[in-house]
């Protein structure tokens, strides 16, 4: 794995660029829009570890994301924990959720896992709605800490998200190239055959759901400080489910680069659309593009480029 050293350097370079951008204090809008796009890079990458590498479709992304956000809310309300603690805690709790759902359903067929994740969001949302301490159905206002680095809390969150995105992508790349990734690819192609070859399929699947859950929770943990008002409907928004699916599918699921491409393209397009055309049309277009890609270009943009190049 000689590429690892170089990859780490590139990663550090990206983080440094993010910090530089933050300290330059360019137009603040950049940080707001950039935060959302980077958040989607993490979400798409996290989804792809389970969906693209292992072939198990998770429709319940909002549940994991929101769980990370609400873990953060709980810790902010109770002990006013600092941001790094929030992030790690949010990740761990969502990882546990991934492990639990995986354990309950992954011994059966993959389709039951997907169906379970479909219903998961609604059930989790009901539980949060009934939990008054984190605001319940009314929602909760969260006050950002004072005197943040870079002068503005959102600018700070922007750099944090750059760091998280780099970590997520590096982790995905690492998994992809390790024996874990090869095992996941084997079980994606034919689970029975992989099992016969001695691949520990159940353990690998549980690993994938746990890591995927962890990263989704990590993406959700800074959300309360970004939005300052957390309520169940927006934390569990269907947008997260669709985008988590569409971004890797459009970018390409077989490599760590696919989700990044998808997140950057689709995320930027959506940010632009929010401040231009009607937003519901924009969701409609995402759906159409998703179906078009799944039917016509199942390997996403990466696949298209590969095909073009090989001509």
């Amino acid at each position: 794995m000689q590429g690892t050293g170089r990859a780490l350097l590139i990663g550090l370079g990206v983080v440094a660029a993010g910090v530089l951008l933050a300290s330059l204090r360019v137009n603040p809008y950049l940080y707001f829009a950039g935060y959302v796009i980077l958040q989607y890079i993490v979400i798409a990458t996290a989804w792809n570890i389970l969906g693209g590498y292992a072939g198990y479709v998770n429709f319940g992304t909002p549940a994991f994301f929101a769980l990370g956000a609400y873990t953060a809310v709980f810790l902010i309300q109770s002990i006013r924990a600092p941001l790094p603690v929030l992030i790690v805690a949010g990740g761990l709790v969502s990882a546990l959720l991934g492990l639990a759902i995986g354990y309950l359903t992954l011994r059966l067929r993959g389709v039951f896992f997907s169906i379970a994740t479909l219903a998961l969001s609604i059930v989790l949302q009901t539980m949060i709605i009934n939990w008054e301490y984190v605001g319940g159905s009314r929602g909760l206002s969260v006050i950002r800490p004072s005197s943040p680095p870079f002068g503005n809390y959102v600018t700070f969150l922007f750099t944090v998200m750059v760091l998280l995105a780099v970590i997520a992508v590096t982790a995905a790349r690492f998994i992809e190239r390790s024996w874990v990734g090869r095992g996941l690819a084997a079980l994606r192609d034919n689970e029975e055959a992989a099992e016969c070859m001695g691949v520990p399929t159940l353990r690998l699947k549980l690993f994938a759901t746990t890591v995927s859950g962890f990263l989704l929770g990590v993406a959700g943990a800074p959300f309360p400080y970004y939005v300052t008002f957390v309520e169940p409907n927006s934390a569990f928004n269907l947008d997260y489910a669709v985008n988590a699916l569409a971004m890797p599918m459009i970018g390409g699921t077989t490599s760590w680069i696919g989700p990044v491409i998808g997140a950057v393209l689709l995320g930027s397009a959506q940010q632009l659309a929010t401040v231009t055309i009607s937003s519901e049309m924009n969701l409609f277009i995402v759906g159409i593009v998703l179906v078009a890609f799944v039917v016509l270009a199942p390997e996403g943009i990466l696949g298209l480029v590969r095909r073009l190049r090989s001509r």
Binding site: A33, G136, S137, R138, V227, E231, S268, V275, S278, S279
Partner: protein, 426 residues
């Protein structure tokens, strides 16, 4: 990377996206500075759960803009509106207002519609020292106590109690005085607040609670709930619900034959035109909160008749509530307050505008408005109305006075209560 072609894909993609965002960020320098208009920016729920009220609110604001520009604008400059759809999603608010303030460079901001959309905006306003007028939010400023926040919503200084107080006061006045109360509400922000207020009032008036439960907003069948309430034989039934549950609850009540002595309270949605025309006579007898009614006292206020005429003419084409008897007059009044403050301070200084708003009483199409603690109205003005003598489902009967009679408070009273509830059903 082992595949160099991937590197180029990544480069192109990233630079493309980055340039798009940077372009957006610098867009305002490309805009020609024409007649130097005053720009008022806001997010509004044009899609999503609250769009049924957000879209009429936008129409009312646009009517205000046209009216004010006909009179020469503000401070002699034309007024421009810059708005984006917040999709009823609080997560979009920080981005939208950053775009408005940092890219579009608006001079003034107002909020979107609803408590949830005002909540993430308040810290932004505080951070940038902006004056903010909120549209129909409940108790947004209680946590922050920001002095430059003002609220257009008649709830008044005690928002939690304001919805229910008229209801319980009317009940307590009846002879013989009813004894028992059943209360139920949706698992959501406004109903929970209303129920807290209701519990306080039950204690104050000496009633006895025999049922106090909540339900999730996507309940399919309200019959079990209504049956359980009927089984308690409560004299008073107080419901705090959002539009779909209000409809479901009322229909279930008719089906099961629930007939307490007084029924209603905090059911949002009954005043929406589409709901009124689909429920029709099923509404008769319900005593409910409201903010505006086409009764003589309200129709006499300066400018309201012209506004309603203009609104109703444009409403059908805009695909919004055709009568506009709920939020639109208040949205228009919000803009009137802002406009009068700008003219009154002869400038756009945020602090001066805030001080002016705090210190003065404003004359608007919904009457005189004065602000008090935390930016709420100094005197609450939630009404208690009763639906009476509705026949059939035509919209015309709701256009004028008589079908939605104001019972409380006394200064706006336009009719008498039909009590008990069952008599109104005949």
């Amino acid at each position: 990377m082992r595949q160099p072609w991937l590197r180029s894909v990544v480069r192109v993609g990233l630079s493309g996206a980055l340039s798009a965002v940077v372009l957006l960020a610098s867009a305002d320098s490309f805009v020609a500075q024409a007649a130097d208009p005053i720009k008022i920016g806001f997010g509004m729920a044009l899609t999503g759960g609250l769009s049924a009220n957000g879209k009429p609110a936008l129409l009312a604001i646009q009517i205000w803009k046209d009216d004010i520009n006909k009179k020469g604008g503000l401070l002699g400059r034309p007024v421009d509106l810059v708005y984006y759809d917040d999709q009823t999603n609080p997560a979009t608010v920080p981005g939208i207002y950053s775009k408005l303030l940092d890219v579009d460079k608006v001079n003034l901001i107002i909020s979107g519609y609803g408590t949830n959309l005002i909540a993430p905006l308040l810290p932004i306003a505080m951070e940038r020292k902006l004056t903010l007028i909120g549209m129909f939010g409940l108790a947004n400023n209680e946590k922050y106590q920001y002095p430059n926040y003002f609220q257009i919503q008649p709830a008044g200084p005690d928002p939690q109690v304001s919805t229910a107080i008229g209801f319980f006061e009317l009940a307590a006045k009846q002879n013989p005085k009813p004894q028992t109360v059943a209360m139920v509400g949706a698992d959501a922000e406004y109903p929970q607040n209303a129920l807290v207020g209701a519990r306080e009032l039950v204690k104050k008036f000496g009633f006895k609670t025999v049922y106090d439960k909540t339900y999730p907003p996507n309940t399919v069948d309200y019959t079990p709930i209504v049956r359980a309430i009927k089984a308690t034989n409560a004299d008073i039934v107080f419901v705090a619900s959002y539009p779909p549950d209000s409809v479901g609850m009322l229909r279930a009540a008719h089906e099961v034959g629930l007939q307490p002595k007084i029924f209603g309270g905090g059911m949002v949605g009954l005043m929406f035109t589409t709901v009124m025309t689909s429920l029709g006579p099923a509404l008769n007898g319900v005593v409910n909160y409201d903010f505006w009614a086409p009764e003589p006292v309200f129709l006499a206020m300066p400018g309201i008749k012209e506004f309603l005429k203009e609104y109703q003419a444009r409403a059908e084409k805009a695909g919004v509530d055709p009568l506009g008897y709920y939020l639109p007059p208040y949205s228009y009044a919000l803009m009137q307050v802002l406009g009068q403050a700008v003219e009154g301070t002869k400038g756009l200084d945020q602090q001066k505008i805030a001080d002016y708003i705090r210190a003065n009483e404003f004359s608007t199409i919904v009457g005189k408005i004065k602000f008090g603690k935390n930016g709420e109205w100094a005197a609450g003005r939630t009404l208690m109305v009763q639906y009476q003598k509705i026949q059939g489902t035509s919209i015309e009967q709701f256009r004028g006075p008589g079908k939605k009679v104001v019972l409380w408070p006394d200064e706006f009273k336009s009719g008498t209560i039909i009590y008990p509830y069952a008599s109104a059903l005949k």
